[in-house]
Amino acid sequence: MNDLFVYTLRLGDDALIAAQRTAEWIAAAPQLEEDVALGNIGLDQLGQARSLLQYAGQVEGADRSEDDLAYFRDERDFLNLQLCELPNGDFAHAMARLLYFATYQHLLYEELRGCADEMLAGVAGKAVKEVAYHVDHATQWVLRLGDGTEESHRRMQAGLDALWPYTAEMFESDDLVRRLAVAVDPSTLQAEWERRVMAVIDESTCSRPVASYQHSGGRTGRHTEHLGYLLAELQHVARSHPGATW
């Protein structure tokens, strides 16, 4: 398979699956402003996914549209990080994931906007500014919950700890990213990511999470059991009524 296609699919799938999980918060967030905020954040992620999947389809050259790629691929064909597909958990979990993921996306897009591929650079240049708002939103909540009440602190710590074993996957390098000139080797982002995330965690009075084991496999299509359920919901209507428009 074409390296550029696979690389673009990885980025697009991250954004798409993250958008789906974020959207699950709509009408379930702890306050109305948060419903609106998460709705907007999910919409940004979905917009990034659309641009990336559309481009992936173009690169592949097999006449697949963004919708074909989103709705008519099976679990093992998705190349997103496992971090993106995990169930939402409580609100502190959601903010821990947003902190981890948006900080990663921000560093990645910052690099990618200077790459030689005009389309990827364009998507990244647009997305980097949106993601800056996501990082800020997550940061504010991690600080507020971590340095809040005893209960909010306990939950924030639990969220940070639970998702930590899924963070190393973001920085895994492989032959493909080393071969593909326009790709950002994610291992080069890890030190700065840790510096930024740890600064927030320290200030939140939570302790730095540690993990004895780090999960991996999303980039090659190996997923947690949760992705199948997510896709069932995401793809159900499109597959029941293929080709339907409204």
Binding site: V36, N40, I41, D44, L46, G47, M119, K126, A127, K129
Partner: protein
């Protein structure tokens, strides 16, 4: 033969469905017009990647081209990325009149810059949420007149 200027003027009048007081020319969403053989290509750019207004805007531009008798299509470009700097001064003035505080400052600079209340003009305002009724807005409250208002946030 319809001139490029006439095309830009006509399609520039298409309104943003989310903030109908602004045209796509005011917003800076309209990028330009070029020719590919006999075909006219109008380029537009989204404010935010996921902006749901883009589909409606694309359709409205196509209808306008049709009504001019121009054979054309609409292309979405992402680069260079849209920023609030592209909004015209008259666009910003229209926003205030409509009750939305126009963008100030640059991008996600997380200092507390004062946003003036578009209703009473007071600088004594509080940000309630960085995210508002649409992607491009944040939600504020005026401490002087107590009214909530939208702020078109800087990007």
């Amino acid at each position: 033969m319809v001139t490029d200027t006439a095309i830009l003027e006509a399609v520039g009048e298409v309104a943003d469905p989310e903030v109908p007081v602004l045209t796509i020319a005011d917003l800076g969403v309209l990028r330009g017009v070029r020719h590919e053989g006999d075909e006219v290509v109008v380029t537009i750019t989204p404010t935010y990647s996921g902006c749901p207004a883009m589909d409606v805007i694309r359709h409205e531009v196509e209808l306008t081209l049709n009504s001019l008798g121009v054979d054309g299509r609409v292309e979405t470009v992402l680069s260079p990325a849209w920023t609030t700097d592209w909004m015209s001064e008259s666009g910003k003035a229209k926003l205030v009149e409509y009750g939305i505080a126009p963008p100030t400052g640059r991008g996600a600079v997380f200092l507390s810059l004062t946003v003036r209340c578009p209703l009473c003009g007071s600088p004594d305002t509080t940000e309630l949420s960085r995210f508002g009724s649409t992607s491009c807005k944040s939600l504020w409250r005026c401490n002087a007149c107590r009214e909530p208002f939208d702020h078109f946030k800087a990007l």
